[in-house]
């Protein structure tokens, strides 16, 4: 009874003969998901996004680095400059995301762990958030940038010399005397790599387990 329920939820198990016959076919999705988990966990310690602000009076540029849970670089100096145009301090942006980002990613990793044990199509649902995570990160960043750039304090000293703006989250932009150059950090590249690995895992997952599911269904009839 319980094994039937387990098979219903987690899909058919691979019997030892099949395993001995073509072990790689069944292990590959698991190994790929393991690789994705490792990439995501490592990425937690690396910058996800970096921006350089280039202006004449800063020969070494100003630098901003975003981690999943932290903002680094010349935050105080950038905040100091932003107050002239009435932008709120960067620390007020994405507080929720930064507080829970690490837990969310650990959650993703756990979901991937479960997905590796599920041999049915719904495993895709567990993997999909992981695949989409880099895009979600960039979208969230863009939304915060737009929100901050277009909600400037009208009483700020330079409020009438700077139009509301949205700095590009990737590539080159211009704000006042500053040229901004934004690019993904190593962490985001790892997360993107993890997404690619997860897509591969899905393909191999389908190759390995779909025949088992069809076989189990036909056996049941």
């Amino acid at each position: 009874m319980s094994s039937t329920l387990l098979q219903k939820v987690a899909g058919p198990r691979v019997d030892s003969d099949a395993m001995a016959d073509d072990g790689l076919r069944y292990r590959l999705p698991y190994l790929l998901l393991l690789a994705a988990r490792i990439l995501i966990l490592v990425s937690l310690f690396l910058p996800y996004w970096e921006m350089d602000l280039v202006a004449p009076q800063y020969p070494d540029n100003l630098h901003l680095t975003a981690y999943v849970n932290n903002l680094g670089g010349d935050v105080a100096e950038i905040d100091g400059l932003n107050h002239y145009i009435g932008m709120r301090p960067l620390g007020e942006a994405a507080q929720l995301e930064r507080r829970y980002g690490v837990f969310a990613l650990v959650g993703l990793v756990v979901m991937l762990e479960i997905a590796a044990l599920v041999h049915r199509r719904w495993a895709t649902l567990l993997i999909l958030p992981g695949i989409l995570f880099p895009a979600i990160f960039l979208l969230d960043l863009h939304l915060w940038m737009s929100h901050f750039g277009t909600n400037l304090d009208p009483y700020a000293p330079l409020s009438n010399s700077i139009e509301p703006f949205v700095p590009p989250i990737l590539g080159v932009g211009e704000i006042g005397q500053f040229k901004t150059i934004a690019e993904p950090g190593t962490g985001l590249w790892l997360a993107i790599g993890a997404s690619v690995v997860m897509l591969l895992a899905l393909w191999f997952h389908r190759r390995a387990f779909r025949p088992l599911v069809i076989e189990a269904k036909s056996g049941a009839h």
């Binding site: 010349d74 105080a76 100096e77 100091g80 002239y84 000293p157 330079l158």
Partner: protein
């Protein structure tokens, strides 16, 4: 290499080449013909162009050396980049200096250390800077400077180029033989100059020999605390011979220091009564005395408690020094000025300014004469006089008015010639002789300087490893070298290229000094210095070089008034472009403790803080906190503002101090 990456990097290279062509195309109109045309138009010679090429420092290029020059009667120290000869900073020490807030809210505590019998003395006559040394080489950590007029010593921290301590010598009124450090900066040596009774007490000149004293003080430097430790310092009594310059032994002469004197005649002047004036009386004898002092022995004697307390300061008497074998004299040519120890410590070079020679003493011979007691006699105080012929290694005729000697790396020595208005290059002998093509102990060349040179400085030229390369003549007169700014003319620092051997040592740059008359300077390789660009953290107290727990921080700004005491405490932060709070309301007569922190972390984001009428101006470098205490003595309305142009809204960085009248 991945082929795709190879293609990419080839493209990047092509782009870089294209860009560099683009960048240089803006200079395409310039050629050596343009250089010639510009030189002809200004009447410049090839030698001038070469000098320019050796000294011109384009924007963004940094200097190779930093010269720390005494500021003379400006009472300050100048930091000058070399070879550009650009003034980097005037370091405030003995004299108030508003840009740094020195004496206008900060620095009072340091300057008060040099008060004289409770009276403030707010100028100084700085003469001889001394960089701290480790194993006889500059270590770039500390700088000491003497004030001749009042016998004081200042300590400057080279992490922030700010003075941290001034000590007043309790024994002597004036000093000259300092500052010089022992090879590991164990002691900062300060030799007195004009003899006086101890502590500047009164005694008639008729009692000169009995009541007037010379002295040399060994200030113990506590490197960890960054302060002179008065409790471990001591002095030695000397005859009233007007001790002059000094230098610490090193290497072969480690443990000794040398001090010369100019008035062994003990002349007391009195031209108005028909006596020979000082200038004649002091120069009557053919020789004066070089003092040879065993400081490590003196330290043992002091630590054994054999010093007498005079003016509350331990002094080893001449009697004790003679009994313990700490002090010897030897004749030196008339009215000497410089006494300079060669890099290995094996020779001591003395210039008698009224004798055309430099006299070179061998420290091996000095030690031998001490051991063998080769004395030619004793002076009136019983100090043994070492036989001149037994201790002299060589005398080199260099020219008229020799003053000070510095050393190059190859075996050349350089001596300033005041009367000849020239700098002499001469060869040393002994183990240095092989480094130079010319015979030992001979004059090689004299370069005229404009005019009347005092000290000279060679890059690291008084250390165990001189760099050579550059020599600076610190000329007293400039006469016709610069546009005359009225009758008070600047001094002239002349940079001389000494990189080549033999007779090539041209003047390559003139730098006017229009801020007091400097004396000596030391020239330190810039990479030995590692100053902070901003203070290590927000709320930093530069005087004690630590975070100040009371420093105002963002979010803690406030004004509190204690009505009973009539006291007000202000906790203020400064950041581009506002002070917080901006309104400070007090009542006349209130005592105000005003704490202010510059919370900036950006390099060069300095704020000033100036209150009119109250004589207050602070310089707050990024991270710095300062506390000013004053009484609101005058009712009124006082706009305080940032006195350092900090930002586009600098004019708006202002606030109001409102002092409300009572009744």
């Amino acid at each position: 290499m991945n082929p795709a990456f190879r293609v990419l990097s080839a493209r990047a290279l092509a782009l870089a080449l294209l860009l560099s062509v683009g960048a240089s195309s803006s200079l395409a109109f310039q050629s050596m013909d343009d250089v010639r045309a510009a030189a002809t138009a200004r009447g410049l010679t090839t030698a001038d162009l070469l000098a320019a090429a050796k000294t011109f420092t384009p924007s963004g290029m940094l200097d190779e050396y930093v010269m720390f020059s005494s500021g003379g009667h400006s009472g300050q120290v100048f930091a000058i980049g070399m070879p550009s000869m650009r003034l980097l900073k005037t370091i405030a020490v003995f004299t108030p200096e508003p840009w740094q807030g020195w004496g206008y809210g900060v620095g009072e505590e340091v300057m008060a250390g040099g008060d004289y019998g409770g009276e403030p003395v707010r100028w100084g006559d700085t003469h001889h800077p001394a960089l701290s040394e480790t194993a006889g080489d500059y270590d770039g950590q500390w700088l000491f400077i003497n004030d001749k007029i009042n016998a004081r010593v200042g300590v400057i921290d080279l992490r922030d180029f700010e003075a941290k301590q001034i000590v007043k010598n309790p024994l002597t009124v004036s000093d000259h033989g300092g500052t010089f450090v022992t090879p590991n900066t164990e002691y900062v040596i300060e030799g007195g100059q004009y003899a006086t009774p101890w502590g500047s007490a009164y005694a008639p000149l008729s009692e000169y020999k009995e009541s007037y004293h010379g002295s040399v003080t060994l200030w113990k430097f506590d490197r960890r605390a960054g302060r002179i430790d008065r409790s471990k310092s001591f002095a030695m009594e000397l005859p009233p011979y007007w001790q002059d310059l000094s230098d610490a032994g090193k290497g072969a002469s480690d443990g000794w220091f040398f001090l010369n004197s100019i008035n062994t005649e003990m002349a007391t002047g009195g031209i108005e009564s028909g006596n020979p004036p000082f200038e004649a009386g002091v120069s009557r004898n053919a020789t004066d005395y070089l003092h040879i002092i065993d400081w490590k022995g003196a330290e043992r004697v002091f630590q054994a408690g054999k010093a007498d307390m005079i003016e509350g300061f331990p002094v080893i008497s001449i009697k004790t020094a003679v009994a313990e074998g700490l002090i010897y004299l030897t004749p030196e040519p008339r009215s000497p000025h410089g006494v300079d120890v060669a890099p290995k410590g094996d020779f001591v070079v003395v210039s008698g300014k009224l004798d055309p020679h430099v006299t070179v003493y061998s420290t091996a011979k000095l030690k031998k004469a001490v051991a063998a007691k080769t004395f030619s006699g004793r002076d009136d105080w019983g100090i043994p006089i070492l036989d001149f012929d037994a201790v002299v290694e060589a005398q080199v005729e260099v020219g008229l008015g020799p003053l000070h000697t510095q050393f190059g790396p190859e075996g050349y020595a350089y001596t300033s010639l005041f009367l000849d208005s020239a700098v002499a290059r001469w060869t040393m002998g002994g183990s240095y002789g092989a480094g130079t093509p010319e015979p030992d102990w001979t004059l090689v060349h004299k370069t005229p300087v404009q005019y009347n040179v005092g000290h000279i400085g060679v890059a690291e030229g008084d250390t165990v490893s001189p760099d050579g390369k550059y020599l600076v003549a610190f000329n007293k007169w400039s006469v016709d070298r610069f546009l005359p700014p009225g009758p008070l003319l600047p001094q002239n620092f002349q940079l001389i290229d000494i990189a080549n051997q033999g007779t090539s040592m041209p003047v390559i740059y003139d730098m006017p000094i229009g801020m007091g008359e400097p004396h000596y300077a030391q020239i330190c390789k810039a990479d030995k210095l590692n100053p902070w660009k901003v203070y290590p953290e927000v709320g930093w107290d530069p005087l004690h070089q630590r975070a100040d727990l009371m420093a105002p921080k963002p979010g803690m700004e406030r004004v509190t008034r204690n009505d009973e005491e009539g006291s007000v405490e202000v906790f203020m932060t400064a950041v581009r472009s506002h002070f917080k709070p901006e309104h400070v309301a007090v009542k006349v007569g209130d005592t105000i403790t005003w704490r202010i922190t510059n919370i900036e972390r950006a390099v060069d984001a300095t704020h000033g803080f100036a209150i009119p009428q109250y004589n207050i101006n602070l310089s707050l470098e990024p991270g710095e906190t300062a506390t000013v205490e004053f009484t609101a003595h005058t009712a009124g309305t006082f706009p305080f503002y940032c006195s350092e142009f900090c930002s586009a809204l600098h004019l708006e960085m202002v606030g109001y101090l409102l002092v409300e009248p009572t009744e």
